[in-house]
Symmetry: C2
Subunit: 386 residues, 2 copies
């Protein structure tokens, strides 16, 4: 196999960017996705069919050297079917753990990693009990198939429970407590078939309406201890899943106060000694991730190339940031490319999709050698494309 | 045209890298090339046919927003045929000037730019006369269709003339004198449809057997005056050709000695006052160029994206280098990707071609933040892939 062919389940923008990163490595690609005008279909072979039919999977897998996926809602049965025939990475077990919020949170809890408080909700009675256990506000979420804020409802008071149950109660649910976080971060780590591991610098993420809008990388004001804590979480997850590929873990940075008893006239006085940051896992994605798009220009190796290197058992690439990057998602409407490209250091990425409200149509990565310059360019961009 | 479609004449590695740079801009591509297994055909629509048939050109051009080419030996007639139907950049006149070594050298001479001494050779008698005029050694070259050292013979003594004439005399020829250069450089400049111009930093090139082997960028030890002199040449050429797209100009750096008469006992004594560098044009290519491949990782904007921005009339991108880069061509044989990718900062680019002696199969760009580190990595790579 001079030029290996990789099969990818899903032909969206992540698949498209995987192919763009993989062609220079001499790879060829075949996508499976029922969508007719899928972003990756413009630049590779694309079988327009669903993921469940074994005859389709046979046809898809013929002659492939390895299979991976660009989204985590591929059925585990399909992944297992393929993995009996050829290497499938990340391993189907990782897919299984990531597809169900309850399994996922339990997985991290069993690793000794902090998560938001959670409780299983299979009935309206479960929901009442869960609210008592976790408190309000809390999020009621479907255990499966949620993304970009879909399949979740916030509960602010007990009276919200009935409405939320009526809306989501057809599916298995989970109630998650709120974590009073300082900010949202993510860590992207890769593990190769040969066991090599590499982590990218922590990324700061800003969501609105449940959709990622802006990522800053490297995340500002990260101490080596916090980076190390994030990598420690990633390493434990990679090892536990015998993972291969890029794994994204979304985190909350939480400020904890440390007190000590002061021996004053009133012996029960507590005084604040230190405030320190700790990390709570929100969720993981067993694939390349929107918060890692900045790596195309902003890191020595992109997350897309890194994923392919890992899947093929090639040495992993350097993950150091090159300067400072800001990634802005383009949602619902396309900007004028001439306006974007007039900004020095702006890199435009369009996915070739037809515009539609709420749809991720592309992203822009701004890169600069200095953080101040990056901030200035980001303000310029945000004024222009609003 | 939300997502413009660009037609490209030629589907080799340059076309492939144009498409890889253009997809993120939301562009779509259609290639025309008679080769069946062409590098760009793996990732875009590819019409397998020659460039001369007007029915083919009609079919190729239907629905395109603009046409460009990835090699300069497209017939001018075909370019004119297309340019009556849709925007064709670079303009066919630039193609015409670059296709014929005599026209090309005359073009630069008329701009007041230094070239190697040259003379037209249409007969054996012309050749004898040209040797007398230019001296030996000299290169006898076909005026058209030469590349990578093909179609040229070195003449070291008068007796070589007859053999060289017998080998090449069927085609119109040019005799070129040798330029005693210090090193070979190239400058890549872009001019947009709206007249904006941007130049990349000078590149140092190393050839063997007429084929580019290694480029260093930015070229070491370049004074601002030399960069400025190169840009001045590029700007004159771009303006004279009403050029649109990336233009590559290969240059010789020549050391000139400046003397002055000393008023000593012997009044004819000359003493060396200064040595300074000047530039002599070797040739130009009206397209993206092998010596610019380092820009993919080593510059803020790649030459491929820059060319497409120019052709579409979009703002040009920043051309500043990001650290130091060395580009090594992979000729004839493929290295083990695992060996290459184990080097930190190594970026592998394979073109998907079947290996064959003398064939450009790919390139590796090494990038480092410091020149010393780049040198060390380059030595490591050269030991590994030799």
């Amino acid at each position: 196999m001079v030029y290996p062919t990789i099969g990818i389940l899903g032909a969206g923008q992540l698949g498209r960017m995987l192919a763009l990163a993989g062609y220079p490595l001499g790879l060829r690609f075949r996508f499976l996705d029922p969508a007719l005008d899928a972003p990756a279909g413009h630049l590779a072979e694309h079988i327009h069919a669903g993921y469940e039919d074994t005859a389709t999977l046979e046809r898809f897998s013929a002659g492939l050297d390895a299979v991976t996926y660009e989204f985590e809602n591929v059925s585990v049965a399909a992944a297992h079917f393929l993995s009996e025939r050829l290497p499938v990475y990340p391993p189907p077990a990782a897919l299984e753990a990531a597809q169900d919020r309850l399994v996922e949170k339990t997985f991290f809890r069993n690793l000794g990693v902090a998560t938001a408080p959670f409780a299983i909700v299979d009935s309206q009675a479960d929901l009442e009990a869960a609210i008592l256990q976790i408190g309000l506000p809390a999020m009621l979420k479907t255990r499966r198939l949620g993304y970009d804020g879909k399949g979740q409802i916030i509960l602010r008071e007990s009276a919200d429970a009935a409405t939320a149950w009526a809306a989501l109660g057809d599916a298995p649910l989970i109630l998650e407590g709120f974590v009073p976080f300082e900010r949202e971060l993510s860590i992207l780590a890769a593990r190769s078939r040969n066991g090599e591991i590499a982590c990218f610098p922590l990324i700061e993420n800003h969501h609105r309406d449940g959709i990622l809008r802006l990522s800053l990388a490297p995340a500002p004001d990260i101490t080596p201890a916090l980076q190390s804590a994030a990598e420690h979480i990633a390493l434990r997850a990679l090892a536990a899943l015998d993972y291969v590929g890029v794994l994204a873990i979304e985190l909350f940075q939480v400020m904890s106060n440390e007190f000590q008893v002061t021996t004053g006239p009133n012996s029960s006085d507590l005084s604040l000694v230190t405030r320190h940051s700790s990390l709570v896992v929100n969720e993981m994605a067993p694939r390349v991730h929107n918060s890692g798009h900045w790596t195309i220009e902003g890191a020595e190796t992109s997350q897309f190339e890194q994923h392919l290197r890992a899947v093929l058992g090639l040495p992993l690439g350097a993950t150091a940031a090159r300067g400072f990057s800001a990634m802005v998602n383009l949602i619902g409407a396309l900007p004028d490319p001439a306006v974007v490209l007039a900004i020095s250091g702006a890199h435009l990425h369009l996915y070739g999709k037809q515009p539609r409200a709420g749809r991720k149509l592309g992203h822009i990565t701004l890169r600069a050698e200095h953080e101040d310059l990056l901030r200035a360019r980001l303000e310029q961009l945000q004024r222009m494309i609003q």
